[in-house]
Structure formats: structure tokens, C-alpha cells
């Protein structure tokens, strides 16, 4: 690891990676450190993936203002620059009872004040034109066509790779253990070595309070709030066209039903304050709450065709209920980007914009790098191609003729690309998030041994060192007693 940098970003979630990418526009030396062996293992890997339109955003709060700006930036820039799935499916807030109508009107007005374009309240058949399989007792719905969905994994990976292409350095398995404030600079001690930085940006998600504590800041505390989900098979024949919300009540925001960018249906999340920032377990009660809630808007949902359950943690600052994005008064050169709960993903481009503004002020001006290239293209997606396009791809590279994941039709070529990118994939789950082997109905039963094999070959490590996610999550223990291969072949493999 290098020992000096202008700007050190802590955290490889969407917040950190977006900041790295936006700062790499300037003539600065940028470094991002992430404690896990892969990007996107924190809150960014387990959420609803919505780019909220902003009708529910509170203009008095930072998170409300940044949500509006973020949505605009996704529309105007991000979707054109980065090869990342973003779809403007629109959102529907569905009222089933008369007494919910005033709340719907209130959302409409608030949205209009916030400047959300094209909002309208639809009634009767118009609701079912938008969402044919909605519960049959809907009486009105607020329709927000500028709401969208994004693939958060691909987004984060695209941002990190784009930053790296523009000169940023990204270090994985480089968890920050301590920070020494040396006045002008900060000496950041990581698992990969020490690095001296002029400016430190704390984007450590659920651990942001612990990072802040390292430099003596204890003005905020992160409280994890868990949300659980069910994800359905693409072939489940559940017809959902938009992102469907119930009308929020004082007690609950209600369970969302939404398509994902790949055409699965996702339902969740509930909200439960928990003790530990490590506790991403799903629970019987939580999952039941999610399914019951979802059935209120889309009754045909059941446990049939569920292919995945998961949970994510919102890193909330409970006192303010808001984002905290500021240069610390106490510790110059230390910028907190904390409390990035929902709508952190929708706001991410605007959060990055704000961070750039703060850095500009701290340094006193930034020079643009004339070579900055805002465009990034990810591995090709075999599954979305016509047979003609697929034929051409294999002709160019034989590795695209080998299907590794049967459920999602992922080729060896795509997996190799993911490993060989500037910030390459190193774990089974990282490859799953980037190019989808194991994301389908068999959940890796078929392809996991093959992915382990490819990772081992490409990285030059034995198969029993390949991990699922964290450094300790090894998949294999030891060789079998009586190998069916001859001894030589086995020792060659070891």
C-alpha cells in the first residue's frame, strides 16, 4: 500500500465509491479503503434499490433535499455515463380506504412543493392500467413517474472502477484500525499498512461512529434499524409493473412491492431497531410481517417461488433522523458522511456533490483533471442478448461459449471480466453481485463449485482459500481421504 494520499475515503459502499468517483474528476490523489474483501458488503448490498421520486422527502431535512437533487442527477447524468441498470418504472402509493385520501393529497402537495414532476392522483380503472394485479379494493393512488430502480451492486462497482480508471486507488481488506491526528495530516492505520492523508472522508456506514471516535469525535451514534426481504424467482409470473407502496401511516411506512432491474419481484422491508450492527439475520416474525404487508397491495404473493431471504441495516442517527455530512469543527481535515440511511442510495450522487463542495472549501479550490473520463462499461450481459449477438460474442472470445450459471445464463467470459476489472472481484458473493452466477432459483447449487474453481485459477490460490464473503467465510475444509484422482494430480492442485 502507498504511504501518502491527498484524500482517503473510508468505506466501499455507494457513498464512499461515489465520493471517490466524483473527486477523481480533480487533480487529486484519491485512495479508498474497505475492510472487507469486496466492495458493497454493507448497507448498499441489502436495500430496496429505489431512486425515490421525492414526494415524501422533507425539505427541512438534508436527506429530503439531497433526495430531490440525487434523483435529478441520476436522470441527467449518471444513467448516461455509467453502464448500470436504471429503470424509471414509476411509483404508486395505493389507498384502499376513504380515510387515507387526505394523506394521499398531502403527499401530492408536498411532492409538488418539492418540485417532483408529473405527479398525479389516479382513480378507478386508471390505477389498474398502471398496475393490473393490484388488490381489487384500491380507490386511489398517487403516481410518480420519475421514481426509479437501480442495481446498487453494479452501481457501486461501476463507481469504484470508474474512479480507479481515473487514477484513484482502491484497497480491499484494508480495514481502518486507528487514526492518529497529526494536525496537518492524519495517519490512518489499516490492516494493509499505514497511510498519511491530508483529508479523511468517513463513509463507513454502520461503523461511521466508531471511525469518528478514532479521532475523538463522539457527537453522533449510529443505531442499526433492520429491514427484511423476500425475493422471487424471475419465472414466478408475478405481474408487478411499478414500485407499489401502501399509504404510509404514523407507525409504519408499509411494505413495498417492486420489480428489480433484472425482473425479479422484491418485497420488504420492515423496520426494527436492533442492538448490533453485525446482526443481519432474517427472522420468522420479520419475514412474516413482510409477506403479510405485501399481500395487502399484491394479494397473489405467497411463499411460492421465493428464491432468497435477506436483511439489511439502516445506519441511522436517531437524534436527528437525518444525514450528517460536514467537515468536523473539532478535527480539521476530517469529513463525516454519516447516518446515510434511506434514501441514501437515491441521494448518493447529491451526497457526492456535497462532499466535493466541502473538500473544495477545505482545500481552497480544486483543479479539474482534463483527462477525466466519466464513462464506464461493465462486462457484457450474455443473458440480455439476442442469439445473434451471443453468437458474435463467442466468436470473439471462446470464454463466452461456456455457461457457468444455468439459472441466469452467466458465461465464464463475464466472470473473468469481473475478476479482471481494475477493482476486480475476489469472492464468490462479489462475483454473484457483479455478474449474477448464483442469483437464480438454485442459488449457486450448480455453479458455486465452478465459480470457486475459476476464482482459484485466476487468483492463483488453492480452492480452500476461496471465500464466500468475509475473509473467514471459507467454503472448503480439506482434501478427501482417498482421492479418486491419482496422488500426483492432487498434490499438483494443492
Amino acid at each position: 500500500m502507498k504511504d501518502k494520499t491527498d484524500i482517503l475515503i473510508i468505506g466501499g459502499g455507494v457513498t464512499g465509491c461515489f465520493a471517490a468517483r466524483e473527486l477523481s474528476r480533480y487533480d487529486l490523489d484519491i485512495t479508498l479503503v474497505e475492510k472487507e474483501p469486496s466492495l458493497c458488503t454493507g448497507t448498499t448490498k441489502a436495500n430496496t434499490a429505489l431512486i425515490h421520486a421525492g414526494f415524501n422527502a422533507d425539505p427541512d431535512k438534508l436527506k429530503g433535499r439531497l433526495n430531490m437533487r440525487g434523483n435529478q442527477l441520476y436522470h441527467e447524468r449518471i444513467q448516461h455515463e455509467l453502464d448500470v441498470p436504471i429503470e424509471w418504472l414509476g411509483a404508486l402509493v395505493v389507498a384502499k380506504e376513504e380515510e387515507k385520501l387526505p394523506k394521499l393529497e398531502e403527499l401530492l402537495e408536498k411532492g409538488q412543493e418539492n418540485g417532483v414532476p408529473d405527479l398525479e392522483i389516479v382513480k378507478g380503472d386508471d390505477i389498474y392500467d398502471l398496475e393490473p394485479h393490484l388488490a381489487d379494493d384500491a380507490i386511489a393512488a398517487l403516481h410518480a413517474p420519475t421514481a426509479g430502480i437501480v442495481n446498487p451492486f453494479e452501481l457501486t462497482v461501476a463507481l469504484a472502477n470508474n474512479a480507479a480508471m481515473n487514477g484513484a486507488d482502491v484497497y480491499l481488506e484494508a480495514g481502518v484500525e486507528d487514526i492518529e491526528d497529526k494536525g496537518e495530516t492524519k495517519l490512518v492505520k489499516t490492516a494493509k499498512g499505514d497511510i498519511e492523508a491530508n483529508i479523511v472522508i468517513n463513509a463507513a456506514g454502520l461503523y461511521a461512529d466508531k471511525i469518528a471516535n478514532m479521532v475523538g469525535i463522539d457527537k453522533f451514534e449510529i443505531t442499526p434499524r433492520r429491514g427484511e426481504y423476500y425475493l422471487y424467482d424471475k419465472q414466478a409470473d408475478i405481474d408487478v409493473q411499478t414500485t407499489v407502496f401502501p399509504v404510509p401511516t404514523k407507525v409504519s411506512k408499509g411494505i413495498v412491492v417492486t420489480p428489480t432491474d433484472e425482473g425479479n419481484v422484491l418485497i420488504g422491508p420492515n423496520a426494527e431497531v436492533i442492538e448490533s450492527v453485525e446482526n443481519k439475520s432474517t427472522t420468522r416474525e420479520g419475514l412474516d410481517e413482510v409477506l403479510n404487508g405485501a399481500q395487502k397491495t399484491i394479494p397473489e404473493l405467497s411463499k411460492r417461488n421465493v428464491i432468497k431471504e435477506f436483511a439489511g441495516l439502516r445506519p441511522a442517527i436517531t437524534e436527528t433522523g437525518d444525514f450528517l455530512i460536514e467537515a468536523s469543527d473539532e478535527v480539521p481535515g476530517f469529513i463525516n458522511v454519516a447516518g446515510i440511511q434511506s434514501p441514501g442510495l437515491a441521494s448518493a450522487p447529491a451526497i457526492a456533490e456535497k462532499v466535493v463542495g466541502i473538500v473544495k472549501e477545505e482545500i481552497g479550490g480544486l483543479r479539474e483533471d482534463p483527462d477525466f473520463d466519466p464513462n464506464y462499461e461493465g462486462p457484457p450481459k450474455f443473458r440480455h442478448m439476442s442469439h445473434e449477438e451471443q453468437a458474435k460474442l463467442v466468436e470473439e472470445d471462446k470464454n463466452y461459449g461456456q455457461i457457468i450459471c444455468r439459472c441466469e445464463s452467466v458465461t465464464k467470459g463475464e466472470i473473468l471480466e469481473a475478476i479482471r476489472e481494475p477493482v476486480g472481484a475476489r469472492t464468490v458473493n462479489d462475483i454473484k453481485r457483479r455478474v449474477r452466477p448464483g442469483s437464480g432459483r438454485c442459488q449457486g447449487g450448480f455453479c458455486e463449485p465452478k465459480v470457486v474453481n475459476i476464482l482459484s485459477e485466476e487468483l492463483g490460490i488453492p480452492e480452500d482459500e476461496v471465500v464466500l464473503e468475509s475473509k473467514e467465510s471459507k467454503l472448503l475444509r480439506e482434501r478427501t481421504k482417498e482421492p479418486l484422482l491419482n496422488e500426483e494430480e492432487v498434490s499438483d492442485n494443492e
Binding site: 443481519k280 442469439h387 461456456q402 474453481n453 464473503e469 468475509s470 482434501r479
Partner: protein, 423 residues
């Protein structure tokens, strides 16, 4: 795109595809192509290195690879074309087959008939909805079997197995012999889904406990599996509060059911059966799409490969008849319906008029285990045939041969039920 033409394309080179191709050849079809996505033929049998295959068909006990070997040689001798490492991506209702491999690139094959023999896949932890964390160390039993028998890696040291299907039982013994501690095999039902001989040979012989009416209710561990919570269940398979206990383990193997792998079939417009999860077929194993046939585990999950072979010979023969000028249809279709204590019957209908046929085999599974039973075949209210069995189990497929002469022109449905002897 690499365009080719074949009379018959067989999707999948497991025992089903191999037997079907062999029989179609023996019936005179010469232009046959088998497409197999693995690097070798033989299907799931290649990883079943235990004994117990072929007792019915060969009259001797073979290992999985030995059994497969016989049929691999048969198709090779006959000069059937084979493409390995080749994934079939799509079969259209017009019987155009798209497949891909590294050497030929994209293949577009214009086929006159297609036999679907893609086998099945395993149900997952997610499909049975076990809450908890998502660490390494949770595998389907078949994946673990592949790691151990094909890749020579032991996935873990302290093992709990959920589900007493055959793969679970076989893997309990395998892991034990590899030096792992198998803490228990848990079964949510009051009876096992596996063959009785596997319970004896894989568990009893090694003192591995089989705990009925218990299931895993939570998974623990951050990086690697650390423990599972187990609970007793009631007769509706719901966990009984207060009965929970924890088992420390680093590995959970799931043997919780197989699902016929029919994504290709569905895209081809083939109609599926709710209970089997496979295509609806007539006795020739032809689907609703003329010229598309299905056999083996893709049609319904078999416990014995011998029946896979028998069924696939039928499919191969009918496909040959189809290619050689067509199949004569009966004037009236006969529906085959499950009655009391019958889960499903394959075929779901009898539609063909076949000259030299002596028997039509009905394959079925019972819903619950029963001792001293009579299996009755009815046409309307009229009983045609019965046979007695000492014991039936959902884990063991029942075959019921119906003599051709009993099937008459005026029938429109058949029904089978399984009742206590003398009832």
C-alpha cells in the same frame, strides 16, 4: 451462427437421454444428436459413486458411474452424435434448438423431434424459508456430493443434514467415511423420503441418529456456519414452541427435495403438471407439443435409475415412431387420475394406438406410507385390476403395469387408489 439439421435432438446426456437416444436408434432413427452441458455424459450418476444402481434393469448392483458407462458405450457404438460442454439455451415450439459451446460457438439446430432429458435440481435453503444469517457452510446435499466425489474437497467437519431423502442419507455416510462428524439427520415428516435400504446402510450401520418430525428453524454464524436451532414440529409441520435446541456445526446439508428442471420446456410451450413439476405427457412420453418428448427426472423425480431407463426407452421408441410416419391416435383419450392416497401418476393420459404393445406401465407415488395395501385400477366404477403390496412409501415409486387388452375403446378415464388390504 452455426446452423445444423437433425432428425432427433436429445437435451441432456444423463441416463434418461442416453437410453432414449439408444432406443430411437434401435428403432431405425440414424440422425441423432445428444447435447450435454457437462464435460462428460452420465448425468447425476457420475457423482453417485455408491452401489445400488441397476438391480432391476441389469439384475446386479452397480455404482452410478458403472451404470452410466453401459449406456455411454451403447450410444457411442451406435455412432450417435454427441456434443459435450454444450448448454442448450432455448427450444422453440417449432423445435429449433439453440445451444452454445466454446468450439462451435452458437449452434442453431433445426430438429424434427426433441427429447427433453434435463434431469432436476435441488430445493434450496431459501426455497424452504429458513431464517437466520447467511454464512458459508450451508450446501445442498448434491452440491456437497459434487465437492466430495468430483472435486475431492470436504466442505466441512461437523455436519447436520436436513431431509432424509436419498441424497441426504447417502451424504451422511459419505461425510462420516470422510472423517466428518455427522451430528444428526433431521426429517420434518413422520417418515423418511428415502429408500429403506439407504436408512439401514447409511445411518443405522454408522449410528447416525435420524430424528423424525424435527426441522431447522434458524441458522447462526457470521462468516461460517456456527450452529443451527432445531425444533420439533406438529402434524402440520409447524415448529412447536419450547422444543427448540441448538446443534453446533459448521456445515448444514439440505436434502429437501428435487425439482424437475423445466425452464427450457416452459419456453417451448410445454404444459406442466402441478404435482410432478414436469410436463404433462401421454404414455409415449409425448408432451402437448407434437414431437417434443420428456423422460427421466425432468418429467418426475425418480428414486431408482432403472425406472428412468425403462421410461426413456418408451420415449425413444415413440419419438422414432413419430419420425417414421406418425403415431396412430386412439379415438378417445383416456385420462389417468390419482385416487385415494395417490400423489400423482405418470403418464397423465393414454392417447396412442400401438400395435404390438403388451403393457402400459403406470408410475406413481403414494401420499403417505401404508402397510398391507391393495392398489386398485378402476375404469369408472368398474375395477379392472388390483395388486397387493406389503408396504408403500412416498420415497419409493410404485410401478403398475396395465395389460394392453384391458384398455378398451370406450374408456375415457382410469383411476388408481391405494387402500388397506381387504377394504
Amino acid at each position: 451462427m452455426n446452423k445444423q439439421e437433425y432428425e432427433l435432438v436429445v437435451v441432456g446426456g444423463g441416463p434418461a437421454g442416453l437410453a432414449a437416444a439408444q432406443e430411437a436408434y434401435d428403432q431405425g432413427v440414424r440422425d441423432i444428436l445428444i447435447l450435454e452441458r457437462d464435460f462428460e455424459l452420465g448425468g447425476i450418476l457420475q457423482q453417485c459413486i455408491h452401489n445400488g444402481f441397476g438391480l432391476h434393469y441389469f439384475g446386479e448392483e452397480l455404482t452410478g458411474p458403472e451404470y452410466a458407462q453401459q449406456f455411454m458405450e451403447n450410444v457411442r457404438e451406435r455412432g450417435v452424435d454427441i456434443k459435450l460442454d454444450t448448454m442448450v439455451l432455448e427450444v422453440t415450439p417449432e423445435k429449433d434448438v439453440y445451444a452454445i459451446n466454446s468450439d462451435d460457438g452458437m449452434l442453431y439446430i433445426d430438429a424434427e423431434a426433441v427429447i427433453l432429458a434435463m434431469g432436476c435440481r435441488e430445493r434450496t435453503r431459501e426455497a424452504i424459508d429458513i431464517p437466520g444469517t447467511r454464512p458459508a457452510g450451508v450446501y445442498s446435499a448434491g452440491t456437497a456430493q459434487r465437492y466430495v466425489n468430483m472435486e475431492q474437497w470436504i466442505p466441512g467437519e461437523k455436519v447436520v443434514i436436513l431431509g432424509s431423502g436419498d441424497i441426504g442419507l447417502i451424504m451422511a455416510r459419505r461425510m462420516h467415511l470422510e472423517g466428518a462428524e455427522v451430528e444428526a439427520v433431521l426429517e420434518i415428516m413422520p417418515f423418511s423420503g428415502g429408500l429403506v435400504r439407504n436408512i439401514v446402510q447409511c445411518l443405522d450401520d454408522f449410528d447416525i441418529p435420524l430424528r423424525m418430525q424435527q426441522t431447522v428453524t434458524e441458522i447462526h454464524g457470521k462468516d461460517r456456519l456456527e450452529a443451527v436451532t432445531v425444533a420439533e414440529v406438529d402434524d402440520n409441520m409447524q415448529p412447536i414452541p419450547g422444543t427448540e435446541y441448538k446443534i453446533e456445526c459448521d456445515t448444514l446439508l439440505l436434502s429437501v427435495g428435487l425439482i424437475p428442471e423445466n425452464e427450457l420446456s416452459k419456453d417451448a410451450g410445454v404444459k406442466m403438471h402441478d404435482v410432478t413439476g414436469g410436463p404433462i405427457v401421454n404414455e409415449g412420453r409425448e408432451t402437448n407439443i407434437e414431437g417434443i418428448f420428456a423422460c427421466g427426472n425432468v418429467l418426475h423425480v425418480h428414486d431408482l435409475v432403472d425406472w428412468v431407463t425403462e421410461e426413456s426407452l418408451v420415449a425413444g421408441k415413440t419419438a422414432a415412431n413419430y419420425l417414421q410416419g406418425g403415431i396412430d391416435k386412439r379415438e378417445q383419450e383416456i385420462e389417468v387420475n390419482p385416487g385415494e392416497n395417490v400423489g400423482y401418476i405418470v403418464p397423465q393420459k393414454i392417447t396412442n394406438d400401438v400395435e404390438d404393445r403388451k403393457l402400459v406401465d403406470l408410475y406413481m407415488r403414494c401420499k403417505k406410507p401404508m402397510e398391507h395395501v391393495t392398489i386398485n385400477l378402476y375404469s369408472g366404477d368398474k375395477k379392472l385390476l388390483d395388486k397387493n403390496e406389503r408396504r408403500v412409501e412416498p420415497g419409493e415409486m410404485i410401478t403398475f403395469p396395465v395389460p394392453e387388452q384391458m384398455i378398451s375403446d370406450d374408456m375415457d378415464s382410469l383411476k388408481v387408489d391405494i387402500v388397506k388390504e381387504g377394504e
